[in-house]
């Protein structure tokens, strides 16, 4: 059997949750063009300065919407996130007048492909 690694893109729609005065999404981000890409545990290429999901709160809006830890966020509501600073990314995600954010994420996946001949 083989292990195949590939990445696929996914669109995720998160509805923000109101907690007191804040609207929260329920996950944490890391990365940015002003950060050190070598310390990113989720990226395959250690020079990748994109925004990655580093934690997902259990039961939060992000988990409900299907966001997973290790996803790379490519776009937020149409805004590009591959070449932004960490603070710009945070601002784009936490705009006060938006209740829904639509993310385009890239996820790496490992799948086992079992040879047909072995099964039979």
């Amino acid at each position: 059997s083989y292990l195949i690694s590939f990445s696929f893109q996914q669109r995720i729609e998160i509805h923000k949750l109101r907690q007191g005065d804040n609207l929260i999404l329920g996950f944490s981000i890391g990365g940015g063009i002003d950060q050190d890409p070598a310390q990113n545990p989720f990226s395959e290429d250690k020079t990748d300065k994109g925004i990655y999901v580093t934690r997902v709160t259990e039961g939060g809006p992000a988990e409900v919407a299907g966001l997973q830890i290790g996803d790379k966020i490519m776009q937020v509501n149409g805004w590009d996130m591959t070449m932004v600073t960490h603070d710009q990314a945070r601002k784009r995600l936490t705009k006060r007048n938006e209740e829904v954010v639509r993310l385009l994420v890239t996820r790496q996946s490992l799948q086992k492909a079992v040879q047909q001949s072995m099964m039979s």
Partner: protein, 525 residues
């Protein structure tokens, strides 16, 4: 087990030590001393690197006993490049008959060398003065008057001779510290150079000036000044060849003692093998721990036990195949499963434990003894005049309380023959006088020190022989090995060249020291 190991000690009497029985105890101690006087009479050939007190040298250059060997050189054709004669001589008869000859021959050679050097030096020193004075004495009336110029030259000659005298005294008037087998090549060359030089000057002087009775006195004086200048330059050459060339380290030398493997490394410059041997020996007395034959008995007994207990039976028939027998024995001994390694391990562990225990007892005893002694301040001396003691008496007063512990410790570490009671008392009073702590007093006994620390009779290493495959006057090269043999052990010396170092430079501008902050923050949204 330690009680059984405590082999006893006739010195337990020290605990009842009193001033009256001092003599009796010391005699008892001396009876048990094992005197070792193996050195002294045996001497091989003419090499002796010993440490005798010697007379100061006279003369321009110091050539020592070897100068006399020049005469012997003329007879044999093997000059500097001859191999060393100091391989071990096996014939006892020849050695005995040579002993008498050599002891007389050596002294004669040394004195001959000194007198030759002294005579040459005096001759060389007086030559310029003779050059100046002879015309005045012999044909004074014919000389042209030579006023201020000559007087100026006289002053310069006088001061240059004074400088030459001081320089020669500073450089060459030294007590010879050793007797070396062969002449120093550079010294001999310099003496020959000086002799030829002065000889040629005299020749010229005799032919051109004395015979023809030259009247130009200024020229004669300038000739003498040129001689003195040239002598100063030869003195400079002597400094460079004899002193400065050796200073820059070129070789690293490893010295290993054959009996217990103790080794040291030294850095040397361009020296001949015999001078390198001299440096090694000078450092040996300071750096190596004293040679203690008592420490070697354990390994010898182990080796003896290894081959014992094996008998060879010749089954195949008559015929004494000695080599075959020994080979069979070695093979059998190797195959035999003996547990000598076990014995060694437990024996060593046990010995260490015993030593540590005795050391602890000793340290405690000495500390307690030292607390009894207190130095009197000046004012107190008037108050308690009756109890005052000088250091020696104070030492004798506290010695009995620590004597037994010290004796036992010395026996366990097999050092007892190196310290007599008198030496211990002396050391104790020395420490008391200088306000030393108990630990400082014990430093001398806890670990074996360098050979210089002990009494000369205990050294067991005063006469040395240089064994070398190359000529001893040839310089050190990479890979040269020579051996310094003493009666009981030898020092194997291995020479290695210091590698050629390629050093390159890299310039870093101080302004280029700039840093960035590499963050990895995590924000929750």
């Amino acid at each position: 087990m330690s009680a059984a190991m405590d082999t006893e000690s006739t010195y337990s009497g020290y605990s009842h030590y009193s001033g009256h029985s001092k003599k009796a105890h010391r005699q008892g101690r001396d009876r048990h001393k094992s005197p070792r006087s193996k050195d002294g009479s045996r001497s091989e050939k003419s090499v002796t690197i010993q440490t005798p007190p010697a007379e100061p040298l006279l003369g321009n250059d110091a050539s020592r006993a070897e100068e006399g060997q020049d005469d012997n050189w003329g007879e044999t054709t093997t000059a500097i490049t001859g191999t060393s004669e100091h391989s071990i001589s096996q014939e006892d008869i020849a050695r005995i008959s040579k002993d008498l000859e050599d002891s007389v021959g050596l002294d004669c050679k040394r004195y001959l060398g000194l007198t030759v050097a002294a005579v040459l030096g005096l001759l060389v020193f007086l030559t310029p003065i003779a050059f100046i004075l002879l015309p005045q004495i012999l044909w004074r009336d014919d000389l042209e008057p030579c006023g201020t110029v000559c007087e100026g030259l006289f002053i310069s000659v006088a001061f240059k001779l004074l400088i030459l005298l001081i320089g020669t005294w500073a450089l060459f008037f030294r007590q010879p510290k050793a007797d070396l087998p062969r002449v120093f090549v550079f010294r001999a060359l310099l003496l020959v150079l000086i002799f030829l030089f002065v000889f040629s000057y005299w020749l010229f002087y005799g032919v051109r000036i004395l015979d023809s009775k030259d009247t130009n006195y200024q020229g004669i004086v300038q000739y003498a000044v040129s001689l003195v200048d040239a002598l100063l330059f030869i003195h400079y050459l002597a400094i460079v060849l004899l002193e400065l060339r050796q200073l820059q380290p070129m070789f690293t030398v490893k010295v290993v003692r054959s009996t217990d493997g103790e080794s040291r490394y030294y850095s040397l410059g361009h020296l001949s093998i015999q001078r390198a041997a001299l440096v090694v020996l000078e450092n040996y007395y300071r750096d190596f721990t004293v040679y203690n034959p008592a420490l070697l008995t354990a390994s010898k007994s182990r080796a003896a036990k290894h081959m014992a207990g094996l008998k060879v039976y010749n089954v195949d028939g008559p015929g004494n195949n000695a080599s075959g027998q020994s080979r069979a024995m070695i093979a059998a001994a190797a195959r035999r499963r003996d547990s000598s390694h076990n014995e060694l391990y437990y024996e060593e562990a046990d010995h260490e434990r015993r030593v540590k225990k005795r050391r602890a007892r000793l340290v405690v005893a000495v500390e307690e003894a030292f607390t009894h002694i207190k130095r009197l301040q000046a004012e107190e001396q008037q108050k308690a005049p009756g109890e005052m003691m000088d250091p020696r008496e104070a030492a004798q007063a506290i010695f009995p309380s620590m004597a037994r512990a010290l004796q036992k410790y010395l026996r366990t570490t097999r050092q007892q023959q190196y310290h007599s009671m008198e030496s211990i008392l002396q050391h104790l009073s020395f420490c008391i006088t200088n306000n030393m702590t108990p630990k400082a007093f014990l430093e001398r006994y806890l670990n074996p020190g360098p050979t210089l620390q002990y009494d000369r009779d205990r050294w067991l290493s005063k006469q040395w022989t240089l064994v070398s495959e190359e000529a001893v006057t040839s310089g050190l090269q990479d890979g040269v090995v020579f051996v310094l043999k003493c009666l009981d052990f030898s020092l194997v010396v291995n020479v290695k060249k210091i590698p050629f170092i390629k050093l390159s430079e890299e310039f870093i501008d101080p302004k280029s020291h700039k840093f960035v902050l590499r963050l990895q923050s995590e924000t929750s949204v």
